[in-house]
């Protein structure tokens, strides 16, 4: 019995080593691809004439859809940021999703809203829109009030029904857009008309200086938790999504900042209101639509147009957010199981989906089990403490190395955090991320997986917002 257990433990340890090696190899490939993609993008910067795109009457117009539920503290600044975008033809459609706070009042006061009849342009099932308003101070603003649908997807779908332009950009109400983000996004659709969806980078605004609805100086806050998330975001966007974009297998276009061809999204029925990861679900369905039709298409990611968001600064909110993400991922993998491993779906079916299943969905489970089994092995004397420490050390070293890789890409391409103090905090966070935070996050994901398998209900949870003050976004401790 003991012998069998010993053999099992040793076999599992060997499996964990092989698994870790495979994950490291994947990350390394993604870093290399991301580096190449971003280098190419940066080199071509001077070839791009964003001014003409921003001012041309013939540029493709964009509808910006902003779902808002109880966003009174940030909505005015967020809409201001969007309306200040340097672009000729766009509208902002704010969908007040049955807010119980003063979201609508704030908008009415700040933008002189008056009732206005707007005819829907598309048929999508959503909770009823009860009123629509136009702004007297800026005709590009449309506000819809609808019955609460209990999810973001329903609100975006409602906005999509009323949006009138061929491209639609979905942004969260707690985000600030860079002033020149729109021309950068639209250019990709103009230069490569096969583009169906495109994601931009979401950066964390906590601690940064905000003026007139735009981040004027990127800074990092003092809170370690937020800095850890900044490093995580950099790694996810600059390394992960850019790498996947290079492979033509982007699976997630962030719901907080993604631009789509409206008619394609309407054709597949818009966002799925029952999904926890409606953004990833939508992208996977778009891949399926285009692949099934054999039509040339591109779903990509570009790292230049920036959208700033407020990150949770308390563990409780962060935990709820990350649980939702993990459950969303599992759900997307389940709904797209028919695409997995099928050559017809190209790199999406053959590489991206299997990767997400093997390393993103199951990864936390293997990691947590690894910690448990190795500790057990040491306790039972089957493994020397030195080997266990070395094993843990290598895992941590590689984790840190990949975070450093993301910082390296950031330094190479954008260098948004100009101050040495901010840079120092990021380096420190990249180092500390793997000592405690990573393990906590793995546990959260395992719990979320468990809850998902037992179909326990998941609330959306409420984000505690500090709001975008003119000087900076304070980070709550």
């Amino acid at each position: 019995m003991i012998d069998t257990l010993h053999d099992l433990v040793i076999a599992f340890n060997l499996f964990v080593i092989a698994y870790m090696a495979a994950q490291c190899a994947n990350q390394l490939v993604l870093i290399c691809l991301g580096w190449r993609e971003i280098s190419e993008y940066v080199k071509r910067k001077s070839l791009r004439d964003y001014d003409t795109i921003a001012t041309s009457e013939l540029s493709v117009p964009v509808s910006i859809v902003v779902p808002a539920y109880n966003e009174e503290s940030v909505i005015a600044e967020s809409v201001r940021s969007l309306l200040n975008s340097h672009y000729a033809a766009f509208e902002v459609v704010v969908v007040n999703d049955g807010s119980t706070d003063r979201t609508l009042d704030v908008l009415t006061e700040d933008y002189d809203l008056v009732p206005h009849e707007r005819v829907p342009r598309a048929q999508l099932d959503t909770r009823p829109v009860v009123a629509s308003y136009r702004s007297l101070s800026d005709e590009r603003l449309l506000v819809l009030t609808k019955e609460n649908g209990g999810c973001r997807a329903d609100a975006v779908n409602a906005g999509l029904r009323y949006a009138r332009y061929p491209l639609f950009l979905a942004v969260d109400a707690d985000t600030l857009l860079d002033i020149d983000a729109l021309p950068r996004l639209v250019r990709e659709f103009q230069v490569r008309p096969e583009t169906v969806a495109l994601g931009g980078i979401v950066r964390i605004a906590n601690g940064s200086t905000v003026e007139a609805g735009h981040v004027t100086e990127a800074r990092t806050p003092r809170e370690l938790l937020v800095n850890l998330q900044i490093v995580e975001y950099l790694r996810a966007f600059l390394v992960g999504r850019t790498g996947w974009s290079r492979l033509g297998a982007v699976l997630i276009v962030s719901g907080a900042f993604g631009i789509f061809r409206r008619e394609d999204v309407i054709e597949i029925g818009g966002y799925d209101p029952d999904s926890f990861a409606e953004d990833a679900d939508l992208v996977v369905r778009l891949h399926r639509l285009c692949r099934d039709r054999g039509r040339p298409y591109r779903i990509g990611f570009i790292a230049d147009p920036v959208c700033w968001t407020e990150a949770p600064s308390s563990l409780k909110v962060l935990k709820s957010q990350r649980e939702r993400w993990q459950r969303g991922l599992l759900e997307v993998l389940w709904t797209s199981r028919g695409m997995m491993g099928r050559r017809r779906y190209g790199t999406v079916g053959m590489v991206a989906l299997p990767y997400f299943l093997a390393f993103e969905a199951i990864g936390p489970l293997v990691e947590v089990l690894g910690y448990v089994v190795i500790t057990l092995s040491v306790a039972l004397g089957w493994l020397t403490p030195l080997v266990a420490i070395a094993f843990f050390g290598v895992a941590v070293a590689f984790g840190i190395a990949f975070s450093f890789g993301a910082l390296l890409v950031e330094e190479r391409a954008f260098q948004r955090y100009r101050r040495w103090s901010c840079f120092g905090r990021l380096v420190l966070a990249a180092g500390l991320e793997n000592l405690g935070y990573r393990q906590w996050y793995a546990l959260v994901r395992v719990r979320a997986t468990w809850a998902h398998l037992w179909q326990r209900p998941q609330a959306w949870g409420e984000m505690e917002r500090a709001g975008f003050t003119p000087e900076s976004v304070p980070s709550k401790s």
């Binding site: 080199k43 071509r44 001077s46 070839l47 791009r48 004439d49 003409t52 041309s56 009457e57 013939l58 540029s59 008056v114 009732p115 206005h116 009849e117 005819v119 136009r134 007297l136 005709e139 103009q190 230069v191 490569r192 008309p193 020397t384 030195l386 080997v387 420490i389 070395a390 050390g393 290598v394 941590v396 070293a397 590689f398 840190i400 190395a401 450093f404 890789g405 910082l407 390296l408 330094e411 190479r412 260098q415 840079f423 380096v427 180092g431």
Partner: protein
Amino acid sequence: MAADTCRIIAFFSLGLLAALTLLVLGKRVIRGLAERNSSRRRASWTEALGNGPVPDMRMGQLRALARQAARRPAAQEDLLSLLESGALPPRGTRREPFEAALRRAGLVRALPAACRSRTAVTRGRAVLLWARLGLKGAERGIEPLIADPDPDVRAAATQALAICHSEEAAWILLGALRDGHMAPERVVERLSGQWAALPLLRALRQVSYARVRPWLAEALGLTGDPRAEPLLITMLEHGGQEHRIRACRALGRLSRPTSFTALSVALGDPSASVRAQAARALADLGDARSVGPLVSLLDDEAWWVRARAADALRALGEPGLTALAHCATEHPDLFARERAAEALGLEPEGTRNADGADRAAIA
């Protein structure tokens, strides 16, 4: 044995971390240095050119900078950004010695070679530099790149030709439009200057451009050249639906009072899209005579035409608003009343309540 292996692993891990830390820090420092060099180089260009007469120009320094630009991508980027900002090239008598310095440094010779480079970025940068420097023969050098396999290079070539501001460049762009090398919108937005008007007018009459005539009309509207008006009116009266839509848009942009009759007639077009565009164009004309025809469009069968008519009446100012105020209460058609009321609702409080005398006048 195990202890040795662990030690090796630990050393390897620490070494990896140290190397990466150094790499990240090094990258930051190198980037800082590169930025400093770049700003120094840009300052050198302006310093070498000076502000005074030709003898004050530092020709040696200019040649050295041009030599750098001929060889190094970073120097080319700096020169390009100076050219984009308008700091270069110098004008008047100072231009000749400036060009001579570029020639002697080999930059002029390097540009055609760069256009044939295997690297897309080099080709794209070369066409932009060539055009921005305003050197003779740039159009012919750029022309082959309009059909480049790389979309960024094609876009750069289109932009470069628009920078040339010459008829020759306009004809090359028209060729790209006809042959479908670029999306029509991307070519048309570049043909918006007065320099493109004559080639556009000529192309409109040529059979080989028949397929892209609606786009030529669109471009003519952007040039604002009044000579286009009769041709556009003919297109509006006799063209297909796409032609009529583009002609309406172009006539709206030209904003010539003489287009009023043709546009009023277009309000009765069988195509709803043409009617909507005609309403918009009449708003651009700003002619008070449009009020009557636009009011008659408020009960159009297509809702978006009704919306465009209401928007157009609003855009006409006082006479349009007075008509809207009247229609909001008196129009026999429910939809027309709703549209008018809605359009009025978007006006500030004072303007919305049109005065009784005006209403009576309209009634």
